[in-house]
Subunit: 722 residues, 2 copies
């Protein structure tokens, strides 16, 4: 195989020309980028490569920002809870916030934009009963109910960009000025953003791709009074609000948003909250605005003959690549960070762009590239998990970030990435234009649906939390499985029913989160449409606390379909006779040990018909049930592993009543997977481990043969019609 | 010490005279009783002992019952959930019930007494839309909502007494007639109960004590179609209902009880359900009736010169020994089964009787008394746990049940009980009339309060369930601890505030159960009265999910006081910095290992002020917090053990801010306890294990000395004023 070339973006830096050339050749890179802390010098820019240049729209222009401090970005914040011990209560509402980031907005009428709430009764306190002390940043309430708790919801100016703030504090940048984020909803900022870009494009003739890092509103990231992270929500629209936005919203929607719409009892509309109708209106309102503004910038970039690329992170709020307005922006490309299969699919499936690019791990930073550490370990893990997803739907390009000069000191790493880039291009040229074989279509059902495709259960980008890994594992398993995955919201299901292509619905999460669904399950229309669909042959997989909302004697509203429910203590008086697991089951045929992660307590079978598959410690963790012509499967949790990936795949086929089809394009050894591309006439057998593996491989007709794979190997074979 | 005598009841049986005499002498028994399956012959009845004779009021009189089948007892039962797949649905509502126990009542107007409910919408289906088929025991609904689930709530005759049913089936009694329970609310039954008793008293002149086993209504116990237990609630008023009761209630209260009042979404008002106002009215209604009827019987017994004793079990429903009407019955005594310290206190604290009696374990039945087994092991465990409680508040008598002839074959057991009876009498004669030293007063706060003193968290008498042992352990620890325990309901607290004597409130249980409190915590009046009380110096101990009801941004409504809350997934975006446990703490000074039982997930500290005492697996299981002048302690669970008893005691003293007083009348070794009786001038040092123990014992002035105790030993010392 002659050396392939292209589809790879390299970070470089000044005074590193010869080595850059060498690595460009070895990795086949056809684009160069600057990074945080690096710049490309003229010599580099003249190389035979596209040049990406990072561009900040709404920060990093302090000269402008300081002249227009009334146009800086804003946030709604809640004070700490404060208990009244008498009839007067003074709340220091800034307590716990970082005064270098946050400044109360006293410019706008506080009686219109602030709210004081008695959290013990959830009643708003009339503004006649409170007054501000602007010098002290305190608010005093009169006529309190003693021993009630009160909070202040206040509008604040955000006077430091959170990403720069993080880097500034972390790297001890000292006197470097704080980037003040400004809001392009406001007139001077909006004019500035286009004027500045036009000039910048003239000043940067060598740039081929303007890499927007990114647009207007940073995801919600608030620091505490010690200068440490206090609140982080990668999906948070917190920084998109402003007095002007609220007024504009009222004009457009005919009703006014309360501060509580944003404060949300202090949860700030985390993605785990079932979104209120008001918040959903607000999201669409911001999305339309962001796409209109972004389109302006993209058009200007295009007018200059360059490409516009968006970084999926930092100030991406409102762009919603899977939302209804994203296409209108007209971007050429999106680039995002790849933490594994799930985040790869989150990038690779973004519609309406010419190409997508994944930034792989590890970053070329000293936390990984230090003497004695082998960066190949992380690179291999990252590649193995991402490759599963690439084989389903590839990104169009891959790349890296950080200091190339640092990575260059690790020759084995340079060798390894040479192998990765070759393998990526080989996969890409084979499968980019063909669809893989999908044995099933799986619909992931939650409150967000397709708007947040591949984004379910995430808090901060690629960070694990104790409360989410048992659900994220399901997403990661799906990201590389030979099934088609679609994302459905409850509202979509209520409007359109279950799409015809769907074989199995998955619903899961902790009770009352947006992913389980909470009060959505009290809607008779929702439970009936799904009951009917299952009874007529559909499959349903529930994870954790699926369909949970206590009502009508059930906790799981699809308890009867699932064959299991969760004991809340109310029905302890009812004997639970069904505790014997089946000796074997299709779903667990390949499993040698169970790992349900955080798992779920007190799940029990409703009738003897429930197929108990795993029972321990007095509770069920895995069960299946026939419901009419359809089937359900209950799983207590599913952290990511190859074993659990197989368990899920079998659960899906079982739920779909398509067990016989499991062994089409199938590896008996669960450490390997088979991806078939009928239109290509080839199939890939992939070793997802870095140990050698032997496996029986089944082709599309069910015939099988033994295959030996080296560590991490991918083997391509030709489809024959046996 | 000369041989003591009295306060012991012996089961005996015919043709066992000499051995009975021997054991009477050795155990000092002064009363003889018959048992299930045994009778006392004439010779036994002439011995120098009180004779107890079991008496059944409302069953075991089939000649009468069969002539008055329209007066048999009734139950409300719910059919299984049945899903409509079209507009017509036929429900076989008897499915899963035992037709030898349950018979649908077609005598009374089903449109008035039955209910069909759409459980998907929780709407009642008009009786115009359904009709019965009495031959098939089916009910057909027309105009259904397809894919909704429906249930039938039906009134049924209970045609077999549950206890006799259990014994009949378990012991394969074959042709023995089924005892039909009749309802003394109905005219013939009410006349019969008094007539028969009068005659019986004449026929049983040797009887000294009529042992009512018991009165009118059995606790709810329903069998399934396989003749096995389907539903058991030792507190259940299920069998007290009838068409007549509902009519009488309506007359008295001016509103009609719906079937759903009893069905309760299929939970049948388990004690774990927060009782509805209607159900609370109904409980009082039944209690008044039961006490009026029971008084009639007791008066007749007294007129015959005999004593009336009630067995706390089987048909005890409505007597509520801790309720407002119990005293009116005029009973002489109550006897109950002692499973440990908690059940002992449940018996020994019953007011308004001349004496209480505890029936100890093991029963003299072949399940314990078989060759190769040592019944002393169970007897010793039972005695050690009961003795802790006796030392706080003794029963007046102890006794045993079963076949004396069987126990007689185990000489070591006879020896051991001789020791127990002597030790019991010794304790009793010392402390019966004096109060023990109580270092604190503890108020156990739940929806039931004093009505269910020492009965919290129980499902079936003395049976452990996975979901309750982590809470029952708290009760068992308290039952023998040197603190005064009072039981408080939320309603009592709302009316009267926290009683002045209380040092520490305890609230705990799974969320939304009657023990945690559920929606009670949404009442501002409740949270404010407790907040104020703590802030002014009170102590509060929360167990499991105390004060839990999601509202106003808190899950625990006293979160701010507790210093901890539970992460439900909504606030994952908020950083949780407070994870470092303190290196040591007063509460854990004696603990060598933690056991939180089922424990609780995802508990986190709200502020740095929270004293984290135990933190593992990313969550807190033990914490304390200063709140105003008071303190709180959070515990994730507390299964019973001597270690956890000490942990709880220390938590209580800490919460009360009385740490210095812990070492009054105190054993440094947690396997021993000290009980002081100032009025007696003595204190007991008790070894609660069956290993020898050495301990430092602190007297009331804080001075200490070493004491060595043999296995299970109790040592009495004289209080001196050092």
């Amino acid at each position: 195989m002659s050396k392939s070339h292209g589809r790879v973006t390299l970070p470089s830096e000044s005074h590193f020309l010869d080595e850059t050339k060498e690595i460009m050749t070895r990795w086949g890179a056809d684009a160069l980028r600057d990074s945080d802390g690096t710049k490309l010098d003229e010599a580099l820019k003249k190389l035979e490569a596209k040049i990406y240049t990072t561009y900040f729209v709404a920060r990093n222009h302090n000269q402008f920002a300081e002249q227009h401090l009334d146009e800086c970005q804003q946030l709604y914040l809640m004070s700490p809870y404060q208990m009244a011990t008498g009839e007067r209560l003074t709340i220091r509402f800034m307590e716990g916030y970082f005064d270098q980031q946050i400044k109360p907005d006293y410019r706008h009428d506080v009686t219109r934009f602030w709210e004081v709430i008695d959290r013990t009764t959830n009643q708003v306190v009339s503004s006649e009963n409170w007054q501000l002390n602007q010098q002290e940043n305190t608010l005093t309430i009169e006529n309190c109910q003693p021993w009630h708790e009160y909070t202040v919801s206040f509008l604040a100016d955000a006077i430091w960009d959170p990403t720069q703030m993080y880097n500034h504090i972390t790297n001890d940048w000292g006197e470097v000025p704080h980037d003040i984020p400004f809001d392009v909803r406001k007139p001077h900022s909006q004019a500035f953003m286009t004027d500045y870009l036009r000039q910048w494009l003239k000043d940067n003739p060598d740039t081929d791709v303007v890499r927007f890092t990114t647009f207007f509103y940073h995801f919600t990231l608030v620091f505490n009074d010690l200068g440490k992270e206090k609140f982080v929500d990668w999906f948070g629209y917190g920084a998109s609000v402003s007095a002007e936005a609220i007024e504009a919203f009222e004009l457009e929607y005919g009703y006014r948003l309360r501060p509580e719409t944003f404060i949300d009892e202090g949860y700030y509309n985390s993605t785990f909250r079932v979104p209120t109708p008001e918040y959903q209106d607000y999201l669409r309102f911001i999305q339309r605005f962001v796409s209109q503004m972004a389109k302006k910038l993209v058009d200007i970039v295009h007018d200059s003959g360059k490409e516009a690329m968006m970084f999926l992170g930092d100030n991406w709020i409102g762009t919603e690549p899977y939302g209804p307005y994203f296409g209108e922006i007209g971007l050429d490309a999106v680039v995002g960070s790849v933490g594994g299969g799930t985040t790869l699919r989150m990038i690779s499936e973004i519609p309406h762009v010419k190409y997508t690019e994944g930034r792989f791990l590890p970053y070329f930073f000293p936390d990984t590239f230090y003497e004695g550490n082998d960066p190949v370990v992380e690179a291999n893990q990252n590649w193995l998990s991402a490759r599963r997803a690439i084989l389903r739907k590839p990104v169009d390009r891959i790349g890296y970030g950080g200091y190339l000069s640092l990575a260059y000191q690790f020759p084995k790493f340079i060798d390894y990435v040479e192998h990765v880039t070759d393998e990526f291009r080989d996969i890409y040229q084979k499968i980019a234009t063909v669809s893989p074989y999908n044995g099933l279509t799986v619909g992931v059902l939650n409150a967000w649906g397709s708007l947040r495709s591949w984004q379910a259960y995430m808090v901060a980008h690629a960070l694990e939390y104790k409360q989410i890994y048992s659900y994220l594992g399901m997403m990661e398993s799906l990201s590389g499985a030979a099934v088609k995955v679609v994302f459905l919201s409850f509202d979509e299901l209520l409007t359109n029913g279950v799409p015809a292509e769907v074989d199995v619905l998955i619903n899961g999460g902790d009770a009352h989160t947006a992913f389980s669904g909470g009060d959505y399950w009290l809607k008779p229309e929702l439970v009936t449409v799904i009951r009917q669909w299952i009874a007529e042959g559909g499959g349903f997989v529930g994870l954790g606390e699926p369909t949970a909302a206590h009502h009508g004697g059930h906790y799981f509203q699809l308890a009867t379909a699932l064959g299991v429910d969760k004991e809340l203590g109310f029905s302890l008086s009812t004997d639970k006779y069904f505790t014997e697991p089946l000796s074997d089951h299709f779903i667990t045929a390949d499993v040698t040990r169970f790992d349900f992660g955080e798992s779920m307590k007190n799940i029990y079978a409703l009738t003897e018909a429930t197929e108990i598959i795993e029972y321990s410690d007095g509770e069920i963790h895995l069960a299946a049930n026939q419901f009419g012509k359809g089937r359900t499967v209950y799983l207590a949790g599913l952290p990511y592993s190859l074993e659990n990936t197989r368990l899920l795949l079998r659960a899906l086929y079982y739920a779909a009543t398509k067990e016989a089809e499991l062994t089409k394009w199938f590896s008996a050894n669960l450490h390997c997977e088979v991806h078939a591309y009928p239109a290509l006439g080839q199939y890939a057998i992939v070793n997802n481990t870095n140990q050698p593996q032997q496996t029986e491989v089944y082709n599309g007709q069910g015939a099988s043969h033994q295959v030996f794979l080296n560590p991490s190997e991918i083997k391509w074979e030709v489809i024959t019609n046996e």
